[in-house]
Amino acid sequence: MTAAADVLAAAPSREPARHSMTTRVVIYALLVFFAIVYLLPLIVMVMTSLKPLDEVTGGNMFYFPHDLTFEPWTKAWGTTCVGLTCEGIKVYVWNSVKMVVPAVLISTLLGALNGYVLTKWRFPGHKLVFGMMLFACFIPFQSVLIPMATILGRLGEIGQALTDATGYSFGFGNPTVNLVLVHVVYGLGFTTLFFRNYYETFPTELIKAAQIDGASFFQIFRRILLPNSAPIFIVTVIYQFTNIWNDFLFGSTFAAGDSSPMTVALYNIVNTSTGVIEYNVNMAAAIIAAVPTLIVYILAGRYFVRGLMAGAVKG
């Protein structure tokens, strides 16, 4: 009934729009206004990062740079002080990369595998399992901090024991590994949701045909399902990448000092309590921190929209 109502409601709006001149002006004025509102912070950031410090502190932040300089960028990257070490943010960008790449790939692949099992290899109680995974999407970050800390502490003990016994911790207790684990566990609910909904509409006959052809569980996954999952794969990667790269809470809680991710380092730079606050360096560092997510969006953004739409249209 609702579908029919939608069709009826949608029909009249299909007429070619004949707006008057004033309507058009109002629309464009609003669009331009909001574009400026959204762009302004970025413009100020870029301009500030290209000014020498005295120009920042002495001038108006909306003025264009008088003496154009890239020195704040090189300083932010290579020599600015984060806490007590003054080696720039490059170490921390690298920390973030080491954490994000495995966390995104593992959580996405596991999500795909979960989606595959929950739709094509149904077992009794699959609905309950999926419901509980969905519930994981609604658990606030803060509430898992303490239990997670307990678990990571236990893992650290195992790492210590392994180091004592063999001289090598096998990654147990390593802060980057810990963060990867936390993000994978926390992201699984979302990635499973994405993939389950996508595979729900994937023709089951293909799976049956592959079974008759003699493909195993993982062969079907790798040869049939994954090659046909590009849109949802991209959506999930973008979603997970942005979330994990931008995460501050887990990073600041579970990875201290030298192993902290980019976001925590940025906070430490900006929040320094010693010396002059170098706004231009801070701005450069903030932009560097945002660049990877921007790149991911620019490269794969159209798939993001397409992938989300694909999920939305099918009922």
Binding site: P203, E205, L206, K208, A209, A210, Q211, I212, D213, G214, A215, Q219, R223, I224, P227, N228
Partner: protein, 370 residues
Amino acid sequence: MAALEISELRKRFGSLEILKGIDISLEKGGFLVLVGPSGCGKSTLLNTIAGLESVSSGEIRIGGQRVNELHPSKRDIAMVFQSYALYPNMSVAENIAFGMEMRGVPRAEREKAVAGVAKTLQIEHLLARRPSQLSGGQRQRVAMGRALVRQPRVFLFDEPLSNLDAKLRVDMRVEIKRLHQQTGTTIVYVTHDQIEAMTLATKIAVLKDGELQQVGSPSEIYNSPSNLFVADFMGSPAMNLLEGKVARDGGSPKIVLERKDHSPIVLPAPASADASKLADGTSVIFGIRPEAVNDPDSVDRNARSVAAFESDVEIVEPAGSDTFVVIHVAGKELTARMRADTVVGVGQKHKFAFNLDKALLFDPSTTRRI
């Protein structure tokens, strides 16, 4: 030895029984068509043969070997799906070779086999394309190629033609028939289309609500349906089924069909019926196919028992090769299949004749044929 034997096969989903004790066997090189209305369990039956669904009880034997516990890939079967189920990320050649690749057949051998099948199906020029670049008929061919290349003991077809338009469907039907005649393979074919069933099968199994109604050759199913359901389901237009009564005054039993505004039609009981079961006053269903109702001149000259009567013509449907004439008998419409050039006018009286050799009687309480 039968290529396929199914005995006492049952399938339950919880308390719901989908297949209620199916017994069928199919000789090597046979073409078995499972036919029935939607929801009758025919696709489920096919899936259990393929091993895509487990069985609750009973046994399936392929080539004498029990396959109940075997994985689909180990049953030596190939299946053509309704949606063709071609892998969209692979070329036609890769689609056809995928099964062999999974079984570890060397590349050179795979290519040779693909080329051979492509030649048989005339799809050599399509081998490098993706399924999305093919038309419906071409996809159908590729799906058959994927099954053929396996050279299995049994082919399974799950409504393979239902996604094609009417013209292509007839072409592909002929193609499947030709393929069967050339290769002599054993085929199990599911359809809800009774014309496909009649034209393709060497053996038809009619299913309804998970129960086998009748198994037999197409002519057995068509000419001697074992019950009302089979009689009604097979044939287009459907068999005329009229309520009548047995009248038996001493001699041989007669069938009386009441008519409104007309004297009843009294017929000798058809020879196919068991006369001993026709007591005086028994209600029966008189079944006669439209082609056995004609004008007296065109009735089959070899017919031993013919009954003529007169009736008002209600509807005339010229169909090109034939003209269908609808009249009213025993409170029901009766369709007669007449020659195309028969001159009949709506509302006029016309002479008709039943070819009683082809007529059947059914028991209305059990729906079985008498």
